[in-house]
């Protein structure tokens, strides 16, 4: 029996999960204790096999009221690909106006996940009109 402690990051409760499994971790072999909701078990399995994280960062924008817009991966991506995704996003430049939900980069790092805007900006000359 392999055991591990995993902190669930899905909500602010941050449940401390006691995870145990025999052989390879799978839906069947995995035993999870300490989760206050059913999502804990799926999270624990993900965490053992392929941890996932949402990448949130910013992107340079031209012609906007602000120099930066903020973006995120539309869903969590493999933690192993966060670094690759980061460098792809760093190379992106947006052009104002940009609105929440706009796709800035499709299929980031080959994950099939899009990078979407979380804080947009108006065109600069619109200000004070």
């Amino acid at each position: 029996m392999t055991t591990r402690i995993v902190t669930c990051i899905l909500c602010p409760n941050g449940c401390e999960l006691e995870v145990g499994y025999q052989g390879e971790p799978s839906e069947e072999t995995l035993h999870v204790d300490g989760n206050r909701c059913p999502k804990g078990k799926h999270y624990a399995l993900d965490e053992l096999l392929d941890p996932k994280r949402t990448l949130t960062t910013s992107v340079l924008v031209l012609g906007g009221e602000q120099p930066l817009i903020s973006v995120k991966t539309a869903t969590p991506i493999s933690r192993a690909l966060v670094s690759k995704a980061r460098s792809e996003i760093q190379g992106a430049v947006a052009r104002a106006p940009v609105a929440i939900g706009d796709v800035i980069l499709a299929n980031v790092a080959g994950t099939g996940v899009d990078v979407v805007v979380t804080r947009g900006t108006h065109l600069r000359h619109e200000h004070g009109k």
Binding site: P12, G14, T57, L60, L68, K72, T118, R119
Partner: protein, 417 residues
Amino acid sequence: MVDSTRETDVVVIGGGPAGLAAATAAANEGADVLLVDRNVQLGGILNQCIHDGFGLHAFGKILTGPEFADRYVREALEAGVTACTDTLVSNLSRNREIICTTSGKRSRIRAKSIVLAMGCRERTRGMIQIPGTRPAGVYTAGMAQWLTNMANIRIGQRVVILGSGDIGLIMARRLTWEGAEVSAVIEKLPYPSGLARNITQCLEDYDIPLYLSHSVSYIHGRDRVEAVTVAKVDEVGEFIRRSEFRIPCDTLLLSVGLIPENELSRQAGIQIDPATSGASVDERYMTNVEGIFSCGNVLHIHDLADWAAEEGDRAGRSAAAFALGGYRSSNAAARVPISAGDGVRYVVPQSADRSTQELLLSFRVTAPRDEATICVNAGDSSLATKKLRRAHPASMVQMSVATDHPFDESGLEVRST
């Protein structure tokens, strides 16, 4: 001298999560609401909190700070709230008048009720008195967050973070993603003060060491930070001799606590609870000054924006009722104190009308425990108990109390054992 005077039902000061929710709630109750904020954009600090983790409670979705703010701004405008941005409130008086300035013009606003939602500010180096030289490169974590996420300014390359509050932890990951090297997070207490999930996803994911029971004993460098000396501290927070070690760095971030921003409240003669540094309020979030309410981080520091917004919603509804005449005032004799007993640091609200039938208590425990039993007592009788699987000073606890009987005149006490 003022250039103009106007009147309204409810003025809300501060357009962060608490103020937006308060303004929306008051407008939905039918009040004319003016929401005043000193920034050009509504949303407060949420705009610079580009990480996710907001909204699970308020919207059932995981959102980033700006997305969370956007939802509240839309709701407020749809509810008919008038937003006055780029407007600084410089005076607040007991008779519910504010003086504010927009583009050099001063105006007086008379309100039937006022909601205070000014939020908080960060503790600085001066407040915690770190010895050493005074070089550039020492920032509060929130300032560093603004510079990085809003202003596109790189703050440093090799970073040490003092304090394990959530903003510091979030910035450890953020600066790592921006290509800086975060050498260590230093925490004076024997346990982290941020959320457990942030220790995992911000520090452990990037192998950033967390030194508990340590603090920065000296800042080195003439023009720019060159290093910090870190040392162990004992139970009372004194440095332990010969435990020092030096970490070279060009930047020191401070994430060492938040202080409610109550300068306006004090001007109006509002009583401040020393345990929270926020106003003392009753069960409807009204301060000792009739018709002035308080909510969010200006009332007490919240760990989640969702809770600040929920509190704003309650305070906003109370303020609308007061302004529109549906508010039953309670006299001082009918109010009983609510106090923090053993194991509890503070309780909000600090008093309640004896005839209150439903009461929401927000509080924090004094020390971490694996299991705790929270008891709300009135005199000799127990009104409510709750078992907590993990009690931690970093996590605010909320508990509802419902009763058919008037509270005992000795008041209520919340204890954790």
